[in-house]
């Protein structure tokens, strides 16, 4: 016999979990008590705020491909991670969130720190559980992990009643390989509706696409987040080279296709490159892999790729035809589908089409600012001085777009960004999680002054656990992206976007026991990066840039993809 809390920890070990991010509290006391006894087998990272823990678990999951785990207490602990859950949900990141609720005798009575968190998280999780019976706990945890990582990955929430964590039940360890044949998961597998194995693509559908590719003179590939989550980058590269097609990359697709490959047209969509957006408009066959055509990519779904036959390859049936009407689709795991396609399609050549596409710019050229720092100079300097495989975690705003446009990503999990949900404050937690999961890699956090101010409290986590993340603040003293919209659309009425206020980020870093430096020139930036690297601990570099720097090009939401309002 074991207590529920002990069963939970044992189940985490079954899953191979060695790191948990979280924050304790009253109702989750029993679980933390067990965690104490398991010290050395499961590492717990205590963050400053639950939101930081949720983003860290997410960053850990995205960068390692493993399932992230996050513990919080009931009530405010649980509601504090809702932003983190929604972020993971929108970007299909596998994270299991675990909280404890008040006991059975108190639930539904508006007890202290009680909240209906399974109700709250219903729309932002793949599924969630309220565990009222200790005998079901082990099975539920096994199901939760399987669901989080299978198919289209995503967050799962488990809410355990406090009394369940104290009650005892029999626990029989089950190796992960047998989870699908026993208990709840076994029963779920027997139903015809769900399957945890990546689906094998339909051969007729594959053949149809192969024929479409043969008939195409102007193909375009879109590399979406599915390539990253499915770790299908090698197959995607082979496919792109075989059909000799330009490749446009979405925000979530960063790392799915080599950013330096000559076939890359750069980012596509609202801040997409001219080459990408013109190719979208001019192609006769558009193959989107793991891309849901969000309103930041297909700005106007009606006119999007209007001359093309659109083909969608996705693991999620519900994404087909959701945002853009397609002509053909293949349901399946990106890796498997691309493998099948690669085995069937012969080498194609599209020199003329490529010549046309690459006559447009794949990256915006910014004016060199001389001494003063420009966004591009910052990214260039960083790229020159840090290793090529550096993991980049961003927040949300202008700096995010610059980081995606100007760094080149080579492998899945190298770029960590809140693409779907757009949660400012994501970056620092994600960077911490990524560094914990990838201690051998350099991890940087690219942020803006607005985003950084939101969750900079996690600097204390960096300091306490000595997680050496280098933070680069693109500090323009304004809420840059919103200001850019105000400049372009609202006649320069800068309503509430002036962030000309404290704190002094260098002093803040120092207050947390870290180092920082404010830089205004390329030389100063180089010095600061060198110092950060040689110091080897958390470091904040506050880069002063002009408040009127814009992300270019830009197409307004809802308009035709080639209608650039700035380029």
């Amino acid at each position: 016999m074991m207590t529920g809390a002990k069963i939970l920890i044992e189940c985490l070990l079954e899953q191979g979990v060695d790191t948990v991010f979280g924050y304790p509290g009253g109702t989750i006391l029993n679980v933390y008590d067990e965690l104490y006894k398991y010290e050395g087998r499961i590492k717990h990272i205590l963050t400053a705020h639950e939101q930081g823990a949720s983003h860290a678990a997410d960053g850990y999951a995205r960068s390692t491909g493993k399932v992230g785990v996050c513990f919080v207490t009931s009530g405010p602990g649980a509601t504090n991670i809702t932003t983190g859950i929604a972020t993971a949900y929108m970007d299909s990141s596998p994270v299991v969130f675990i909280s404890c609720n008040v006991g059975e005798d108190l639930i539904g009575k508006d007890s202290f720190q009680e909240v209906d968190i399974t109700g709250i998280t219903m729309p932002i999780t793949k599924c969630n559980y309220l565990v009222r019976d200790v005998n079901k706990l082990a099975d539920i945890v096994r199901e939760a992990f399987a669901i989080a990582r299978s198919g289209r990955p995503g967050p799962v929430f488990i809410d355990i009643l406090q009394n369940v964590s104290a009650q005892e039940a029999d626990y029989t360890p089950v190796p992960q390989s047998q989870h699908f044949t026993t208990g709840r998961l076994g029963a779920l597998m027997e139903r015809s509706s769900h399957n945890f194995e990546a689906p094998t693509p339909d051969e007729d559908d594959i053949d149809k696409l192969v024929e479409m590719i043969r008939n195409s003179e102007k193909p375009l590939l879109i590399c979406g987040g599915g390539v990253v989550r499915g770790r299908a980058h090698k197959e995607f590269l082979e496919f792109a080279e075989k059909i000799d097609s330009p490749v446009a990359i979405t925000v979530m697709g960063g790392g799915g296709f080599q950013g330096r490959n000559p076939l890359t047209t750069g980012m596509v969509g609202m801040h997409g490159s001219q080459a990408s957006n013109m190719a979208c408009d001019g192609c006769d066959l558009l193959i989107a892999v793991g891309c849901r055509f969000s309103n930041r990519v297909a700005l106007d779904p009606e006119s999007f790729a209007s001359q093309a036959k659109i083909v969608q390859i996705d693991i999620d049936r519900a994404e087909i035809n959701k945002n853009v009407k397609t002509d053909h689709h293949i349901i399946g795991d990106a890796k498997k589908v691309l493998e099948r396609l690669n085995s069937k399609i012969e080498q194609q050549e599209h020199d003329e089409w490529k010549k046309y596409v690459f006559s447009f710019k794949t990256e915006t050229e910014y004016e060199e600012g001389g001494e003063a720092l420009t966004p591009k100079q910052i990214t260039k300097t960083i790229a020159n001085l840090l290793p090529q495989d550096t993991i980049v975690a961003t927040d949300v705003g202008q700096h995010q777009m610059w980081a995606i446009q100007h760094f080149h990503y080579d492998y899945p999990g190298q770029l960590l960004t809140s693409g779907g949900f757009g949660a400012m404050g994501f970056g620092l937690g994600a960077a911490i999680g990524a560094k914990v999961g990838n201690p051998e890699k350099t991890v940087i956090h690219v942020t803006g002054d607005g985003s950084f101010r939101m969750n900079c409290n996690e600097l204390c986590t960096e300091q306490y656990y000595d997680i050496p993340v280098i933070t680069f603040i693109f500090n323009n003293g304004v809420l840059g992206m919103v200001r850019q919209w105000q400049t372009l659309i609202k006649d320069k009425r800068y309503s509430q976007t002036n962030l000309d206020r404290g704190p002094d980020f260098v002093k803040l870093a120092e207050a947390y026991g870290l180092k920082g430096r404010r830089v205004a020139t390329v030389v100063e930036l180089e010095d600061a990066i060198k110092e950060a690297v040689s110091w080897g601990h958390g470091y904040v570099i506050d880069c002063a840039i002009d408040m009127d720097e814009m992300v270019k090009p830009m197409v307004a939401g809802g308009s035709h993809i080639t209608k650039f309002i700035v380029c």
Partner: protein, 183 residues
Amino acid sequence: MNEIKKHTIAVLVDNEAGVLSQVSRLFSRKGYNIESLAVGTTDNPKVSRITIEVLADDDHAYLLSNQLRKLIPVHSLKLLPPEKSIRRELLLLKVKAETAEKRNEIIQIANIFRANIVDVSIGALTLAMIGDESKTEALENILKEFEVLELARTGIVALERGQETINEETKEKGEFNYGKNVL
């Protein structure tokens, strides 16, 4: 925009707490008002059948179905076309009848509609009738003259005509089988 019409969606789900709210929230999120909803257990007590009627165009009904199928507690789902299915609901209707003459008149109407008188009191009669909405509406309209005191409907339940069932292998299902782990 395609033509908006009434769609009947039958869903088999786990008979567990919270499943109904998971299903119904998908409709509210998209701004669809559920016209009718009926829930009950099936021959398997662990499985409930939810029958939902919603006004939508074909594309949206299809997208909603796809979203519903993704839910873990959903076993199977089928869009039931009206011409190929039997749709029924139970109507309970309390109508004012203060005189013997009125009572007789109402009983006659009830007979024509094959409705049953399930309760009689000095001031009122209560009728029960099974039918699809056109029949229940017709009865309701006629009885308006007598002043309807209260009315309750169960919501439509539906089954496909012929041998086919919700679990039948269909073309749509076949497509799901190779893409079914849309978890």
